[in-house]
């Protein structure tokens, strides 16, 4: 008999249909992954099991936990079940913990709420689970506050809280999306181990198909609130029935082919760049400490070359990007574009700025909501000595919008009328409009769903062919960098630890850190012949 069985679950929130007749089941010790793009209803399915749905939610169908139908339980009965029978881990470890309570208090709290054991036993249990999740109290005392821990460590605390009473079912909603790839691997291992060890059912919600393929026993693919396909992992991967499932897996492993780069001629030269930040002083009288964000970095980017930069959060890649863009001055070293320094004196050099543009990660924060698209994408004209006007300006706008796959009529719209993928296209149009020598792509596809991501990658490959782009592509996603760059650099703790031909670096990494990164990244298995 299965542990959890969802039968024809339908959900509306304020009359809007969110879930349509969703069914799935989980056995003890089994890992079931629910996957899909944003808006597929996967997270709502998890919240429905917890009965923590937003106001105005109406449900139909049944959710059986053993013999209890969770949809029929009173709120009081659900309180008894939550934490004791069902535990839950959330996406954002940075905000999932109460900032004003110690981690010990928060882990222990689960126990007396359910009056499960005495105070001393509860404390012993907190010690035990924290040790189990890799935070032994002798190194991480219970008196620590959440802000004193890293993201991965906080996620471990959240997991400890969820498993303190050994629930039968653990729900994990995108538990590693906010984490670095090496931390992600550890957390996934931990979750997998816990499920096996305690015989827990694990309901895992994730958009990342590589993660799904890596750890799930069963896969459930959702779209627009419906289950389109489900089955045992190996069967499903080898024999996808639904076209959407195939499309999703293809998009996740999407490959593009770039035109051959021309003969190497240096465009951007970065020499021995160092950037320090001052740390807040530890005591009133001590000297302020320094944090070296970028440590003696040197590299060359050739004309027509597509260079990747990978590394985990805090490795210094953002700081380096800002230095290249001339947004921040460096302490020592030199950054030259086309043989001219990015900073002339202590001021950004306008002659260099004119040759560079940037595309950012967040499609929602990248545009002033009060301007129309025409004004948004022509903002870089400010850099030109004689910006085009009149019909010439109109023509440039139309050309750019067409080049990125939009219509010239879109120029008069406001940014809120566009989807995330369309916004990234507009961002690319803005970067391209002054025909810069170099474009910096700062995680340009990280916030997008896989199918949209594939389209943007296609667009980039296309633009490479038509506009001879030279770019620096910064990303934490190795699979993206692998297909969209010619050469790649790996950054760790402010240093570039390895650089070389992309294929070369990925297939035979030389530096230990590169190997760790590549090993940690979950891999999408080669999809069977019957996919295509």
């Amino acid at each position: 008999m299965s542990l959890l069985e969802i039968e024809n679950l339908s959900l509306t929130i304020h009359e809007t249909e969110i879930l349509k007749r969703v069914s799935l089941c989980i056995g003890a010790g089994q890992i079931v992954a629910v996957t899909g793009e944003s808006g597929s209803g996967k997270s709502m399915t998890a919240l429905a099991v917890m009965q923590l749905l937003p106001n105005g939610a109406k449900t139909e169908g049944a959710i059986w936990l053993g013999r209890q139908n969770l949809l029929k339980q009173s709120e009081r009965e659900m309180c008894d079940l939550r934490g004791a029978e069902i535990g839950m881990v959330f996406q954002e470890p940075m905000t999932a913990l109460n900032p004003v309570k110690t981690i010990g208090d928060q882990v222990i709290e689960t126990i007396p709420v359910h009056k499960a054991m005495s105070r001393t036993k509860a404390s012993a249990r907190a010690h035990e689970v924290l040790s189990r999740v890799g935070l032994p109290p002798d190194r991480f005392p219970l008196s620590r506050y959440p802000h004193e821990l890293s993201g991965g460590q906080r996620q471990r605390v959240v997991i400890a809280m969820a498993i303190a009473l050994r629930p039968k079912l653990l729900i994990a909603d995108e538990p590693t999306t906010a984490l670095d790839v090496t931390t992600q691997a550890q957390i996934l291992d931990l979750l997998k181990g816990l499920a096996r060890e305690y015989g827990m059912g694990l309901l895992m919600i994730t958009h990342d198909l590589a993660v799904v393929a890596d750890m799930a026993d069963q896969i459930v693919v959702m779209r627009h609130g419906e289950v389109v396909e489900s089955g045992a992992t190996i069967d499903l991967l080898n024999n996808m029935q639904h076209p959407y499932t195939r499309k999703l897996f293809q998009a996740s492993g999407h490959q593009v082919s770039l035109p051959e780069p021309p003969e190497p001629r240096p465009l951007l030269e970065v020499k021995n760049v160092v950037r320090d930040y001052r740390l807040p002083r530890n005591s009133l009288f001590a000297k302020a400490g320094q944090h070296r964000a970028v440590d003696d970095v040197s590299f060359t980017l050739n004309r027509g070359e597509r260079l990747g930069l990978v590394g985990e959060s805090g490795c210094g890649k953002s700081t380096l990007t800002r230095a290249i863009l001339g947004l921040e001055e460096v302490q020592s070293g030199e950054i030259r574009l086309d043989n001219q320094p990015v900073f002339a004196g202590h001021k950004p050099n306008p002659a260099v700025r004119r040759k560079m543009q940037v595309v950012f990660q967040d499609p929602y924060g990248s545009f002033n909501p009060r301007h129309r698209v025409a004004r948004l994408i022509t903002e870089p004209f400010h850099l030109l000595e004689s910006p085009p006007t009149g019909t010439e300006r109109q023509d440039r706008i139309a050309e750019m919008l067409t080049a990125v796959g939009l219509s010239p009529d879109d120029a008069n719209k406001y940014i809120h009328e566009f989807s995330g993928g369309q916004r990234q296209r507009i961002a690319i149009a803005r970067a391209l409009i002054i025909r810069p020598e170099l474009i910096v792509f700062d995680e340009p596809v990280s916030a997008l769903d896989v199918s949209v991501r594939a389209q943007i990658l296609d667009l980039l490959a296309e633009l490479c062919a038509t506009y001879n782009l030279t770019y620096l592509f910064i990303s934490h996603d190795l699979s993206v960098v692998r297909t969209i760059t010619d050469r790649v650099m790996v950054m760790q703790a402010g240093r570039i630890v390895e650089q070389g031909e992309t294929e070369q670096v990925f297939s035979s990494p030389r530096h230990a850190y590169t190997r760790t990164l590549i090993d940690a990244a979950p891999i999408l298995p080669g999809i069977g012949a019957n996919v295509a």
């Binding site: 917890m50 923590l52 709120e75 009081r76 309180c79 008894d80 079940l81 939550r82 934490g83 004791a84 535990g87 839950m88 959330f90 954002e92 905000t95 999932a96 913990l97 109460n98 900032p99 004003v100 309570k101 709290e109 689960t110 709420v113 359910h114 506050y145 802000h147 004193e148 959240v158 809280m161 969820a162 530890n282 005591s283 009133l284």
Partner: protein, 315 residues
């Protein structure tokens, strides 16, 4: 924690110094010579000089500033131009009315506002919440001195539960004193409580939307338990700011309310001093008020650290 407290202390001292310079400078530009104002136009030059020396009006501006500040540090606020008595004596008498009044009002305001705000937030959108929001909307629109007059009309003139004005003093017992401060305190407290309750409610609503509240519910805490254990303390952080600001409003407000109830507090003192052009009294009372406000804000900063471990830091 110690470092944080020290850092705030330094900025407290700087604020006090700048404030004292500003107050001193403003009073200095006042036209006219207090000594000739006091003695009249026919005064002899040597009597004037003697009076100036007595009042500490001779000497350079800088010297006088340091005399004034140095005096205040040891509790000497100078001599009143009109009464020829030490200002410190006059202030301390009045302070025994104004300070208890402000604290009484602050206590009332907090006692009313916190439960009301928490209640409203817990019942968001329901009739209880709408009632609290409606009443507080009205509450923030009511001028406290007018409210005071209405209280007098109802509870003193018609019902005769309280005296319409005056202060019984503390000599006849704490209760008698408190009794005569009750109407003024209510008049001061209720409009402030309306603001505080609204801030408490919206701050708590913000917290209720935080993810850690969902984590708490996922542990099996009921809505109510989660609200009390995880919500209230986090919601206090912005509320403290308002509470600190409110103290200064209550002090200032008490100056006006004292007029309604004929209370012999700092407010009466300062208005008498203004009409008598007794600038040394005005100067000292204003400095005292500003000192109180800055000090209370310092304590609020320390209270933040007590509530929010992120500010404490660990070295």
């Amino acid at each position: 924690m110690l470092r944080y407290a020290l850092k705030r202390l330094i900025s407290l001292v700087i604020s006090l110094v700048v404030a004292s310079v500003v107050i001193f400078a403003v009073i200095e530009v006042a036209p006219g010579d207090p000594a000739s104002f006091m003695l009249g136009v026919n005064a002899q030059e040597d009597t004037l000089a003697a009076l100036r020396a007595e009042l500490g009006l001779d000497g350079s501006k800088i010297q006088r500033y340091f005399n004034w500040v140095g005096g205040m540090m040891v509790g000497d606020f100078g001599t009143s131009y009109t009464y020829r008595t030490p200002v410190s004596q006059m202030i301390s008498d009045r302070l025994w009315v104004s300070l208890p009044l402000a604290l009484y009002a602050l206590t009332l305001s907090t006692l009313i506002a916190f439960p009301a705000g928490i209640y409203a937030a817990a019942r968001r959108g329901k009739p209880g919440d709408l009632t609290v929001m409606g009443v507080t909307q009205l509450g923030i629109a009511v001028p406290n001195f007018w409210f005071a007059m209405m209280l007098v009309l109802i509870f003193a003139i018609n019902l005769r539960w309280f005296n319409a004005g005056g202060f019984a003093g503390w000599d006849k017992g704490v209760w008698t004193g408190l009794h005569s401060l009750t109407l003024p305190a209510i008049a001061l407290a209720l409009p402030q409580a309306a603001i505080l309750a609204r801030v408490m409610r919206s701050s708590l609503l913000d917290i209720l939307g935080e993810e850690f509240m969902r984590t708490a519910r996922a542990k099996g805490l009921s809505r109510r338990q989660a609200l009390w254990r995880h919500g209230v303390r986090n919601a206090l952080i912005p509320v403290l700011t308002i509470l600190g600001l409110q103290f200064s409003f209550l002090l200032a407000g008490s100056i006006i309310i004292e007029q309604v109830f004929y209370l012999p507090g700092l407010g009466r003192l300062v208005f008498q001093a203004i009409s008598a052009r007794d600038l040394v009294v005005v100067e000292s009372v204003v400095m005292l008020l500003v000192f109180a406000v800055i000090t209370v804000n310092y304590m609020v900063d320390l209270a933040y650290a007590a509530v929010d471990p992120r500010l404490r830091g660990r070295s």
